[in-house]
Amino acid sequence: MQDYISVPLVGFPIIASLIIMATVSNLSEEMREKMVNPIRWAILLFSLGLLGWTTAMFYNFFVDLNGFEGIAFNNYEFHKRYIWVESLGIYWSVGLDALSFPMVWLTTLLLPITIIATWDEKNGAFYHPLILLMGGALIGVFVALDLFMFYVFWELTLIPMFFLILKWGGEDRKYAAQKFFIYTFTASVVMLLGLVTLYFLQNPLDPLAWSGTMTGRTFDIPEIVHYATIHNSGGNWFLGASMQKIIFAMLMLGFLVKLPAVPFHTWLPDAHVQAPTGGSMLLAGVMLKMGAYGMFRLPLALFPHALEYFQLVLMAIGMVSLVWGSIVCLGQTNLKKMVAYSSVSHMGVICIGIATMQPMGWAAALFMMFAHGIISPHLFAVCGAFKHHYHSMEIGGMRGMAKHSPWLATSMMFAWMASLGLPLLAGFVAELMVLIALWHFLVAEGWSVLWMVGPALVLAVTAAYYLWSMQRTIFEGGDETQPPASMDGQPIPDIANHEKLAMFVLAMLTILFGVMPWIALDMMNDWSVQIFEGLIMPILGNFNGGV
């Protein structure tokens, strides 16, 4: 099969952005300013091309594949494998399935939208290439089907984000950038240890072992999953019970920090508050999903026994993230920090969805990843507009802004409503599905119904903090608006046209996927059922459920 992924989706964005940045850095200050416009137009057009490319993939332009549905477990579309380091079993291996494709499409969608929303970010000759580099690295994570390559791209995403925060961030950007880098890096080093252990513990003498290399071991994910599935069957634990639990925990630590789940979440609010708008949009929109994606791709597929063993822990972590995130939101005074904590809460929903071990819960978690990927950039675009135009994000610092900035107020209201789960908007579908899956799980497995208290409480608290923050910024005041003190009595602007465009597109997509969720949900559901029936049912035969 032709390679539709490596060059257009991964190689070209990364190499092109590096070349642009290298070239621009040799230019004089004056020339750099002149080059900003051609560069951002070129990057915008190119990223629109990427969006067109992935959309064409979905609509069978290249290969007839029924929209990523009906792919058997551990099979991949557009799969392409090149030998990289043959003796060690390292490959450049790329492919897509219903788990990774929505994320790749989301990334290619958010690239042009981020570029449009932050069209006149300062130092644009570096900023826009860096966004593109970020996009290339993120796509690399999602398409990688080789542990080595996966880890390389996993860490590669940190670098552009580090510079985005460091160079374009707020007051305290140095601290935030370092904290973000070191925190997530430490966790992913633990994950790397887990991956390397996974590599070394493959038994080359096993007749089923990978025979393609000198070492008899491989980094190739489909091969490892295949190998693990056979070794997991018949009541056996792949790698042995204790080792499976240890590697599971090591991998999960990396993913839970990235997700982030309470108590590993404190890097997120700092990073978000200091990050520029574009950085926040990509960070919340795609980067957090790397954690959830990793959970699905590796621990869930490789270690179903350990997943069942740690199910209670995972459920508890998800529940704590959900409840704690939303309660802390209510106590925030900074708009962006509140939105960041609401992401923690939403990621808790994903964690719960995975912990239910139901196909419906997994499909819901996948859809939540996707829906939150559309909604949260909208939230951060609104926060960015507040910062950009009013130089303030203090919730209590302003009043009645709707009077002066109707566009901003409308966008804010829409994004806030979408995020609190208004029916007919994308977030609602995912949240409702998680709740139903959780309920089915509790009943089927005989867990206490009290687990439902958390989600029920959070529904109210989430509505409370979103509505309350909205009331305190854009409403309340009637004729007496109170612009933030930072405005110094200057006239109050509304958002610019390019921001309106970006927010409008996101809003339309939120409605589209709220009214017609099946566009994305069908393949996710299919994938979840495939993995449940192909993996969980044969291995954990006695497991109840299957909604």
Binding site: T266, I327, V328, L330, G331, A464, Y465, E480
Partner: protein
């Protein structure tokens, strides 16, 4: 009585459904009309206020266009609105033959029918009667305070008629409310078929009306016969009488009103002059003040929200920064301190390094020796 399994109980429930559904309809018409009419009054009072005080547009404006204290004597100034309000009030009160009377009477009768069967339902049945009397009081109070009596201030004296966009729906709703008797005759209280007859079936319109009239005013059952007149006495006589004795009165001298208001205002004037009494004691009693403050439920609800929920979430946010993130910062701080100590070993002096190499070599020897 076994409500789930006794078929005898089911007929009671079904007939009450019919009355309740009919009441939903009547209530929708009358209450919609009342809101629209009161909106029209508020709009005109506001307008009159602005007209009179057009030079002071200050925000310190204390004038409340919704307060009945700022109205009075509007019957001569807003005839259509006053008519709609009168018909709507009568319908809500259950004044005989008008709108809500038909359904309300059915509900009261059924409530008592159930109470006779099952004594647990005596309390709700009594509440229904009490409610009917109180409705008679407060609806009359609203009408006479707004439309009868003398204008309470300069603003009320300058209120103009309402505009025709509001008049049209008011007229339609008034018409529907007044023609409720026809709907009753069509068997609207019998949506769900009962033992006697069903909606739009056996009886013609005239027969239906005659049946409903007879059923309401000349019931064969002595208990229900008396009950009807007790309900009418409470909601259409005692309640309005109490309200008229306290509020309203004659219109301003020289003000003329439509002929259908005249008996109402004359009655009001007569009751007001003859039976007026001082209600300050009740109005300033603790119960009245508690009721004005909605029994303080909102107050304590707000208090609980602000103090408990917001307080807890603020504490949670603090905990998140100080304890969870504090732990991370502690790790960061300690590891930096350790690295400072370790860094101090890097002296740059060749003698130190040779010493370390020597120690290391010795250690390796010891280990090899130990293992071997």
């Amino acid at each position: 009585m076994d409500w789930h399994h006794d078929p005898a109980a089911h007929t009671i429930v079904i007939v009450a459904f019919g009355a309740a559904l009919f009441h939903l309809f009547n209530h929708a018409m009358a209450k919609g009309m009342l809101f629209m009419a009161s909106g029209s009054v508020i709009h005109e009072v506001h307008h009159a206020h602005h007209h009179l005080h057009h030079d002071d547009h200050g925000d310190d404006d204390e004038f409340d266009a919704q307060s009945m204290k700022n109205m009075g004597g509007l019957a001569s100034k807003m005839p259509i609105t006053a008519t709609a309000m009168l018909v709507g009030s009568a319908s809500i009160m259950g004044l005989p033959l008008i709108g809500g009377f038909w359904s309300k009477e059915g509900i009261i009768a059924n409530a008592w029918r159930v109470a006779l069967e099952d004594p647990r339902f005596f309390f709700p049945a009594a509440c229904v009667l009490l409610g009917a009397g109180m409705t008679g009081f407060y609806m009359t109070r609203m009408w006479v305070k707004t439309f009868a009596g003398k204008p309470s201030n300069e603003v009320a004296a300058h209120v103009g008629p309402t505009n025709s966009w509001i008049k049209t729906p008011l007229f339609i709703l008034t018409f529907v409310t007044l023609s409720s008797v026809l709907l009753a005759g069509m068997g609207f209280t019998h949506w769900a078929p009962d033992s006697e007859y069903s909606f739009l079936s056996d009886k013609g319109l005239v027969d239906g009306i005659m049946y409903e009239l007879g059923h309401a005013f000349a019931n064969h059952d002595a208990f229900f016969f008396i009950l009807t007149y007790v309900a009418i006495a409470l909601s259409a006589i005692l309640g309005p009488f109490m309200a008229m004795s306290l509020f309203g009165g004659k219109l301003e001298e020289g003000e003329d009103c439509k002929p259908w208001f005249k008996p109402v205002i004359a009655l009001n004037n007569w009751v007001y002059n003859k039976y007026n009494w001082d209600n300050t004691g009740i109005a300033t009693s603790g119960l009245a003040i508690a009721l004005q403050n909605r029994l303080y439920i909102d107050k304590y609800y707000d208090l609980a929200m602000v103090k408990i929920v917001a307080g807890f979430s603020n504490k949670a946010a603090e905990t998140d920064t100080k304890i969870i993130d504090g732990a991370v910062k502690q790790i960061e701080d300690k590891s930096q301190k350790i690295s400072t100590i370790v860094r101090s070993l890097t002296t740059g002096s060749a003698r130190d390094y040779i010493l370390w190499v020597a120690i290391g070599t010795l250690l390796i020897f010891f280990f090899i020796w130990g293992v071997a």
